[in-house]
């Protein structure tokens, strides 16, 4: 054992988990896939009094189509999302992004609820939640409520949940689009992103009718770029559209510098990725 001591409970239902978490009086932590929590525990950077293990709650693991959206249970493993035919057909940007989520061993264990709750600004799933305008169903002592992704991510590694809340499932509205792309640059394949762009468009007679753009690795939270989406819809499709898109995306962010890359470099990377993303999306049959 490396972590500081803690009590461990393994409830079999979501209600029991909420109860256990509430009983911990703000000193509890949820264990899902453990891919971020266990290192933090082992370095003793976090010291919960109680660890509530969600892995026995079967009801939290599913991928379902429900009308105009796909619902994913919080305990669904990255690997299952990566290989889901339903995700591939209805949430293709998510499907493409999943192979960038860390490494195989981590994808086998890591869960979508865990990744969203951890709120790493350079992780793919929080960005996809922003991108798809996802709704997070959260269970707390007062029952279930829904939080929009845009309200969920507050800061780097910080979400808006109360200490006794548990993310139960996430709804991803299906985009009826005809072109999309996911682009990411990392130091090595599988590392946290230095910069990443997700793009989806629907084309019509006058050009782009609807657009979705999100970025990550370039701010304290993933960002959906609503202004850029608007400009895309207003702008026609011509030979310069990819360049304009790249400029708009890059000028929307002011990334920080750190040990791995300067802010200027991240911004440049982002522009390059955006250009490539638009070129890819436009190359799909409209």
């Amino acid at each position: 054992m490396k972590p500081a001591g803690f009590d461990y409970v393994a409830p079999a239902t979501l209600d029991a988990a909420v109860e256990a978490l509430a009983a911990a009086n703000g000193e509890g932590k949820l264990l899902a896939g453990g891919q971020s929590l266990l290192p933090l525990l082992n370095f003793r950077m976090t010291r919960p009094a109680v660890l509530v293990d969600l892995n026995g709650i079967k009801e939290l693991s599913f991928i379902e189509k429900r009308g105009d959206h796909v619902a994913i249970g919080a305990l669904t493993r990255h690997r299952d999302i990566e290989h889901s035919p339903l995700i591939a057909s209805d949430l293709p940007v998510m499907s493409a992004a999943m192979r960038h989520v860390a490494h195989l061993a981590i994808r086998n264990r890591g869960t979508i609820g865990g990744s969203l709750s951890h709120a790493d600004p350079a992780a793919e799933l929080p960005m996809l939640a922003m991108f798809y305008d996802a709704r997070l169903a959260v269970q707390g002592p007062g029952g279930r409520r829904t939080i929009a992704a845009k309200d969920f991510f507050v800061d780097a590694l910080t979400n808006c949940l109360e200490p006794e809340d548990i993310v139960a499932e996430i709804e991803f509205p299906i985009l009826r689009h005809d072109g999309w792309a996911f682009e990411e640059a990392a130091k090595r394949f599988g590392d946290f992103a230095l910069a990443s762009v997700a793009l989806s468009i629907r084309r019509g007679a006058s050009g782009i009718e609807d657009a979705r753009v999100a970025v990550m690795g370039v701010a304290d939270t993933p960002l959906r770029l609503g202004d850029v989406e608007k400009r895309l819809v207003e702008s026609g499709i011509d030979g310069r559209i990819s360049d304009r898109f790249a400029e708009w995306v890059a000028s929307s962010v002011t990334p920080n510098s750190d040990l791995h890359a300067s802010g200027e470099y991240r911004k440049h990377l982002l522009a390059g990725l955006a250009k490539r993303a638009m070129t890819t999306a436009l190359a799909m049959k409209g």
């Binding site: 054992m1 490396k2 130091k187 300067s262 470099y265 390059g272």
Partner: protein, 779 residues
């Protein structure tokens, strides 16, 4: 050198698959942490959070009251008990001729801490987690002092002083050559080529198995048995016994077991080993310490850290007529056993590379900073030195317009100059450097480069070719090894060797040698290493295990046959001269009178027919060769993709080409890591920024191309009977300059001549932007 009968084949050139793999890959290895917990107490090492501070007071009261705590030791306790410090070689001098000066390396800091991660207290408890919990309850009042982490900053007047004995932070210096003659040569040179800041940055050696130690005292005899992850068990034992515990070496036994990588980081005694030994002795209990990965990052020795300014004077034909290098070697806050010898001696041994450069002037300063101690890491001094000369040779090729192969060939030592004594007095016995270069160029399809470059450029990529020729000094100045070889009455042959397997495959290589020499099947041969009660050689450092340890094994094989012939002569009542040995049977020539080797063992004491044999080589061996790579760079991102990597390596006679190729592969991978991504970084306050694999990047399989290795044995080693040269480190020597050469070639059109490694995408991109900006400004 031992003279051996010429008809023994020693199993050379056989690509036998690793015999140890089945055991290791199926979980049957015996690493230290595989030991059952038993009733051992656990020791936890509390480390300094400050880079430089005085310890004003230590409050242990709360910690001592924690559950399970049996004892807590601080630096003061060790001083009171007269526990010694960990030594380094005492042969170096400061510029004024006074002895080298540096802080004593204590097991636990006393009064002052000098780097983040320095051990300050050791807690012994019934479980590991209790010991760690108690460590958190220790209250230490630190008075923080200014710290310095950069070697150049450390040399500036007024810089924080790491150790008062050396107010300029320079622990020791060395110099070589003839400054006046070199200055004269530069004055009349047709070309002067110089590079200002050639940096082999600080690296973290990354053995798969983090360090750990167990100490156990026999209650009756008081003998101390240590299980230590050491590449050099006997030396580690001697240092622990003599320097630290101040007791007779034979009252301590060091055992290793399987060792999950060393790379030089595990060559010496560590404070944690000493603390465990001290605690075991003091408490009379079995004590275990298990390091986490972070204990290796912050508490293990780092590698490299050499900053050089170098210049060539060349004549009009591209012959280098003089070579001048000024280097700063970072030692860290304390001297590891090898801290000074690496930059001051081992690097200079090969500083002139494969070139005939008699006129040199080298000045090296060993500089202390508030950082972890620097020690050996695969190559230890040679990668740094070869990096400098190869970078300069490339720059010279570009400046003079001579083909990079041609300028090397014009300056290579020629085969007819062998044996060749280099500028610092080291003698190369053999080598066909131009031949190796040509062979590598052929294997790398040198002429096909243009077409590949064109194809890459069509895709919008930059494309470059890197070339580096390397030479390595091997042997660790330890040219003797004693092994014991035994035939047992149970029908087995057992070899005890003081060299230490840590992934090289020594068990396989020694087994195939013994099998070939004795004509005994390999599955009847046992190789036992890592026990100072069984063998006491120098250990495995400096790529010496095969050419020195293998020589000893070859000698032992001959000795065992000779001894068996004598015993058989008695047994069969015949003259020794009439006894023939073949495949485990001794026979009176021309008769059917015979006795088996293992039957003879039955008459011996303990059922073992045994020889202790010393193998000695005359000199270091000098492996060498040429690496060629091709790589592409995405100018948009700066990302480097290594497309091709080809080596031709002269390791003399390869005993097991499969194992050697694996050694080259591993070394190249680490060299690519050094060139492209690895860097140990401190901030200016002395905090270590790269203490996990999230921030310290090492190459993965997906970052490497196929590595095409060819072993060329046209020039067998002439100073040992088996003809082998060392091979463990050469990949890590050739690869860094080769990759950097390729990147510089790809960036040549921008006029970029030097970027400090690691050449990360971000740095390359920035260099391209800067070059573009400079070009625009100039217009």
């Amino acid at each position: 050198m031992n003279i051996l009968p010429g008809n023994l084949r020693f199993g050379a050139r056989q690509p036998v698959k690793r015999l140890e793999d089945h055991r290791l890959l199926t979980g049957k290895g015996r690493y230290i942490d595989d030991q059952p917990a038993g009733n051992a107490l656990w020791l936890y090492v509390l480390r300094s959070p400050h880079a430089h501070a005085n310890i004003k007071s230590v409050d242990l009261e709360a910690a001592k009251a924690m559950p399970g705590v049996k004892a807590i030791f601080t630096g003061a306790d060790l001083v009171a008990d007269n526990v010694g410090t960990i030594p380094t070689l005492p042969i170096f001098k400061r510029a004024d001729g006074s002895p080298a000066s540096f802080a004593p390396r204590r097991l636990l800091a006393h009064e002052t801490v000098r780097f983040v991660g320095e051990p300050v207290a050791a807690i012994v408890a019934t479980s590991r987690v209790e010991a760690q919990d108690a460590a958190e309850a220790i209250a230490i009042d630190y008075q923080e002092l200014p710290a310095v982490t950069d070697v150049k900053a450390a040399m500036r007047p007024g810089a924080p002083v790491v150790w008062p004995g050396a107010p300029d932070n320079i622990a020791a210096v060395s110099s070589y050559g003839n400054p006046e003659a070199v200055a004269e040569a530069f004055a009349k040179a047709a070309h002067v080529v110089s590079i200002d800041n050639i940096v082999s940055q600080r690296l973290v050696p990354c053995a798969m198995e983090p360090r750990s130690t167990i100490g156990e005292v026999d209650p009756k005899t008081k003998r101390l048995t240590m299980q230590i992850q050491s590449q050099t068990p006997a030396r580690t034992r001697d240092s622990l016994a003599t320097d630290v515990l101040k007791r007779a070496p034979d009252s301590v036994r060091v055992r290793v077991g399987d060792l999950g990588g060393g790379f030089g980081q595990k060559t010496g005694l560590y404070p944690e080993d000493g603390i465990v030994a001290y605690a075991a002795t003091k408490l009379g209990k079995t004590i275990r310490w298990r390091g986490d990965r972070i204990d290796d990052f912050v508490g293990g020795t780092h590698g490299r850290d050499l900053t050089s300014t170098a210049e060539f004077a060349l004549d009009a034909k591209g012959r280098v007529i003089a070579y001048r290098v000024k280097s700063i070697g970072g030692t860290g806050a304390y001297m590891s056993g090898t801290a000074l010898i690496i930059p001051l001696v081992l690097g200079p041994f090969v500083a002139t590379g494969l070139y005939d450069l008699p006129l040199v002037h080298f000045e090296i300063k060993a500089v202390m900073t508030n950082t972890a101690p620097v020690g050996a890491y695969r190559g230890a001094g040679r990668p740094e030195a070869v990096f400098v000369v190869e970078r300069l040779m490339d720059a010279a090729a570009r400046q003079t317009g001579i083909d990079p192969r041609e300028i090397r060939k014009r300056n290579f030592i020629k085969p007819d100059q062998m044996p060749y004594k280099n500028a610092v007095g080291q003698t190369y016995d053999s080598g066909m450097f131009a031949h190796m270069l040509d062979h590598a160029a052929k294997n790398a399809d040198w002429d096909g480069f243009k077409a590949r470059k064109k194809a890459a450029e069509k895709k919008g990529l930059l494309y470059g070719r890197g070339l580096a020729s390397y030479i390595e000094w091997t042997g660790g100045n330890a040219h003797k090894e004693t092994v014991s070889l035994q035939a047992t009455s149970e029908g087995r042959v057992v070899l005890h060797s003081g060299t230490q397997a840590m992934g090289q495959g020594l068990e396989t290589a020694y087994t195939q040698m013994v099998a070939a020499s004795l004509g005994i099947p390999m599955d009847k041969i046992d190789v036992v290493q890592g026990d100072t009660d069984l063998a006491q050689g120098f250990g495995s450092v400096g790529s010496r295990s095969m050419f020195v340890g293998g020589t000893a094994t070859a000698v032992a094989s001959v000795d065992l046959i000779n001894k068996a012939r004598e015993k058989a002569a008695e047994h069969l009542e015949a003259g020794v001269a009439d006894i023939e040995y073949a495949d485990g049977v001794l026979r009176v020539a021309g008769t059917d009178r015979k006795v088996g080797l293992f039957d003879l063992a039955k008459n011996e004491s303990g059922g073992r027919l045994s020889v202790d044999s010393t193998g000695e080589v005359d000199a270091p061996s000098w492996p060498n060769g040429t690496h060629i790579c091709e790589l592409s760079i995405d100018p948009e991102t700066g990302h480097v993709t290594v497309e091709r990597f080809t080596t031709v390596d002269d390791v003399g006679v390869p005993i097991n080409p499969l194992l050697v190729t694996g050694q080259i592969h591993g070394g190249v991978a680490q060299g690519v890591g050094q060139a492209l991504m690895e860097a140990a970084a401190y901030d200016s306050s002395g905090q270590f920024l790269t203490a996990t694999y999230q921030d310290y990047a090492i190459p993965r399989a997906s970052d490497l191309p196929n590595i095409g290795v060819t072993l060329d044995d046209s020039a067998p080693c002439k100073t040992n009977p088996i003809g082998a040269k060392g091979c463990g480190e050469s990949g890590a020597i050739g690869a860094p300059p080769c990759i950097v050469s390729g990147v510089m070639d790809a960036l040549a059109s921008y006029g970029i001549v030097n970027i400090e490694t690691p050449l990360t995408a971000a740095k390359i991109w920035q260099a391209i932007q800067d070059a573009k900006a400079a070009k625009q400004a100039a217009q």
